[in-house]
Amino acid sequence: MTWINMLSAWQWLLLLAIPPAILSLYFLKLKRQESVVSSTMLWKRAIEDLHVNSIWQKLRKNLLLYLQLLFVGLLIMACIRPGWSGMNRAGERRIYIIDHSASMQASDSKPSRLALARDKALKLMKDAASNDSAMVIATSDRASVEQGFTNNRSLLEKAVQRIEPTSQLTDVSEAFRVAAGLANPGRMSFEDNVDIQVAEAVPATVYFFSDGAVGELNEAEFGQLKIEYVPIGDVDTQNAGILSFAVQRPDTDSAKAKQGSIAAFARMIHHGSETIQCTASLYLNNSLVDAQRVELAPGQETGIQFDLEGVDNGSLKLELDHADALPLDNVAYAAIRPDRQVSILLITAGNTAIETALRTERITQLANVQVEPRSYMSSPEYLTSTTQGKYDLIIYDSCSPEKMPTASTLFIGGLPPKDIQPRSNEPSSESSNGDAQAAVQSSDEQTWSFGEPTGPIMIMDVNRSHPISQYLEMLSVGIVEGRIVKPPQTGTILMVSDIGPVFAVAPRGPYQDAVLGFDIIRQTGDGFEMNSDWGIKRSFPVFIFSAVEQLAGGITEAGAPTVQPGMPIPLMLSNRFQNYQIIDPKGRTQTIERGADGRFLYTKTDEIGVYEVRAAGLEDPVERFCVNLFSNRESNLSVGMELSTGAESILATPNTIRARQEVWRWLLLLALGLLMLEWIVFNRRIFI
């Protein structure tokens, strides 16, 4: 039996004042009729033991009074809405987890699965007792607490109504972790910016509204949670969806011969019981360029290929014209990357190894390499081009400019100029503290420092986590002479030799500087001699390619990267621009600033479609990336009637939402009946 308080405090006071009022009326009402008897002796004896309390004696055996008190009692009972249901929910804590992943947009339940889930949650809330506290968590591939523990029902209802559909995948483990964590004792909830411990440490019941496309759950995460799984949607909902869509520049010679040859591949699946036929239409920049008839067998993946020519840049959209419950996965996007070429300046007195490495096929595809002698550094053309940022990367081979250029640099053997030091961390700014020694020590950590040449040295370790050095194999490389290269604190050591670090990379404003502490070929009085055999090793061109790719920001893939909704995408931004705009499929623009290493992790990938990265002054986007659903689990709309938790499974409880059995109406009816009975009794007394 549970109760719902329907009255405010003053209403309660008013209601509770009625029974004493009735009692007092009975004292006042008894105007007795006088009757003469021969003697009151016998009557006195008869009522003697009833005279223990004369007040209560008056109330004893008074049917009318009892009827009236019973009547008021029933009214009061009705006002606290007693009721019961199959679930025990006296003062219980509830956690409503509502799945709003992509598959919940399916329209097999009208108007949508998410709307149905919200309705069911709201109904369940209405039936909750007034002292139940609850929280609302929306889950997709991440969990968000829409409302912390509270017993304010309107807040909870608003939180449920706030939950909007998303295109994201499903990962409920975080939601259950959050639920289990908040269900533990000592947790606080926030309501109007005030910390209140709303809930006691009692087990909570989780009402999980989902279509069951959640994968396997970890039972250990539930803790004291009791899971009630409310399946949303139909068991046999059919749906066709695209699982992947990618573009590629063909490798074949014939295809290469054709300018702008692009192959687009797609993989599709149909979850259903019958084979369906539909048309897959391919759009380039929203213009239909090709279409194919596709036959999708139930449960089987089907692949199709489109060959396009004369396409160098743009966005592709593949659309299945099959009307099913989830239109979200009937569309896939791919973007063809602009054929971006980076500019590289190599200043060398003559180094075959580097020049050869820069002439590889991959590098020529992505970069224009200009090779100049050392004398070029004194030319006005060099000064102009380096100050205007013409080059993405300048490689100084055994030489050093007077001034650092406005480009990323790679010093091979040469000692960088003094202005390579980070400007914002001048030692003078630190010396104001008065502690000179500390300032010197601090300045050592903040700036590049280079040792004197010594040799021979041997490479002991390579930083495998950095993209420049991750594939390098240096153990067999012999080095005659080299110097220690210590980057500032913001830098990264890429190679460590027996004398110390010899290769490091560090940001300099929008650029990156990489300094290698040894030459490949060094110039002596007798001419050129090999300082290291690295130039003839296999890892050297790999190093050059990685350096070009990472320091200059070159692009090699034809297809733009694609991620699933909600997933972060790492962007490599060229150092040519400081600010970039990212335009999402709905046309919203977000301005981002290029960081020191040119990397940016973009997370607002909620919309399915093509995102463009643009720079001011450029007509074409500098980068594109796509967000596609591409999830077999989300495309499979068949509702799971149980959740697998490893060894066991949680069965669906479709009857969870049972109507609360209210009795207050019956109590009121009974009270009405009593009123009639009382009337009859009263009248009978009058008639006697």
Binding site: Q33, V37, K44, I47, N62, I688
Partner: protein, 304 residues
């Protein structure tokens, strides 16, 4: 002729108490005394006194001066000694009738007092017809009883009861009986007609009568309103005697409780009387006098 006229006149004057037909029936009746008392005058009742009746009682030795007529000569012939024959004396019986005239008796339809007067008149008439000495009084006039003897006194007797009324205030039963005992030193039958509804109790009064070694009849008169009260609702009960007030809300259970109390009261009175050889007779005030006298009291051994 003159006797006939006087009987009719008596009947007419006692219409409300005793009818002529009833009186005729009463003339054949006799009060039964369970004890033998010493009378005051020659009468029809056997007395403790030795006298000159035909009923032999005992022998005793002759002493000088004895009446020679009572010497048993046959015994003298056999034993050669003089013995005197003693015979029982026949004297009159004293019948005392004491009627409760408190206001509680003036209750019921017909009132208990009327019934009490009828019974008292009837029993007194029987006594007069049998030559008994009949002394009647009420509680308030216990010290000044009306004493009549012989049938000729029936006028006075019935007239006395005709004029009797309940007194307010009446003395308590104890006080009345005490006065009665002080006034009437003789022994005989005491017929006490009361409702026993005396708040100071009836026990002391009855014990006083018992101490006088009288043959006591207690006629307990209760009205139907007392035996089966027809009260309903919330009432303020007023005592007819002392205006004592009791507030009651009549319910079935309270009525049941009253009935139990009443039964216990009657039972206690009856057992009190039985333990002290008091003949207890319970009478309803609405009982008809004819069957009451001829059947009810006869079967209870008060009259024959």
């Amino acid at each position: 002729m003159a006797q006939n006229a006087s009987s009719n006149a008596l009947a007419s004057s006692s219409d409300t108490l005793l009818s002529a037909e009833m009186m005729a029936k009463l003339e054949r009746m006799e009060l039964i005394s369970r004890k033998i008392f010493r009378g005051r005058m020659k009468g029809e009742r056997r007395s403790k006194r030795k006298g000159q009746s035909v009923e032999f009682s005992d022998f005793r030795n002759y002493v000088a001066g004895d009446d020679l007529r009572f010497i048993d000569w046959n015994l003298f012939a056999r034993l050669d000694r003089l013995y005197l024959k003693i015979f029982l004396e026949e004297e009159d019986l004293h019948v005392y009738t004491l009627v409760d005239d408190s206001l509680s008796m003036d209750f019921g339809a017909p009132t208990k007092f009327l019934t009490a007067k009828r019974i008292a008149a009837a029993l007194g008439y029987i006594g007069l017809c049998r030559g008994d000495r009949v002394s009647v009084s009420t509680f308030s006039k216990a010290a000044s009883p009306l004493v009549v003897r012989g049938r000729s006194g029936s006028h006075r007797l019935i007239g006395h009861w005709q004029g009797a009324a309940c007194q307010n205030p009446a003395p308590t039963m104890e006080e009345s009986v005490r006065r009665f005992c002080l006034k009437n030193t003789g022994k005989g039958i005491v017929i006490l007609i009361t409702d026993l509804l005396n708040k100071t109790g009836y026990e002391t009064a009855l014990k006083m009568l018992v101490a006088r070694e009288m043959d006591i009849y207690l006629i307990h008169v209760l009205s139907p309103e007392e035996l089966e009260p027809k009260l309903t609702g919330d009432l303020k009960l007023l005592d007819a005697e002392d205006s004592d007030m009791r507030e009651v809300s009549i319910s079935a259970s309270l009525l049941q409780r009253y009935k139990l109390t009443l039964d216990a009261f009657i039972d206690s009175a009856r057992s009190f009387c039985n333990r002290r050889s008091i003949a207890y007779v319970s009478v309803r005030s609405d009982q008809d006098i004819d069957p009451l006298m001829n059947e009810y009291l006869r079967t209870r051994g008060l009259v024959r």
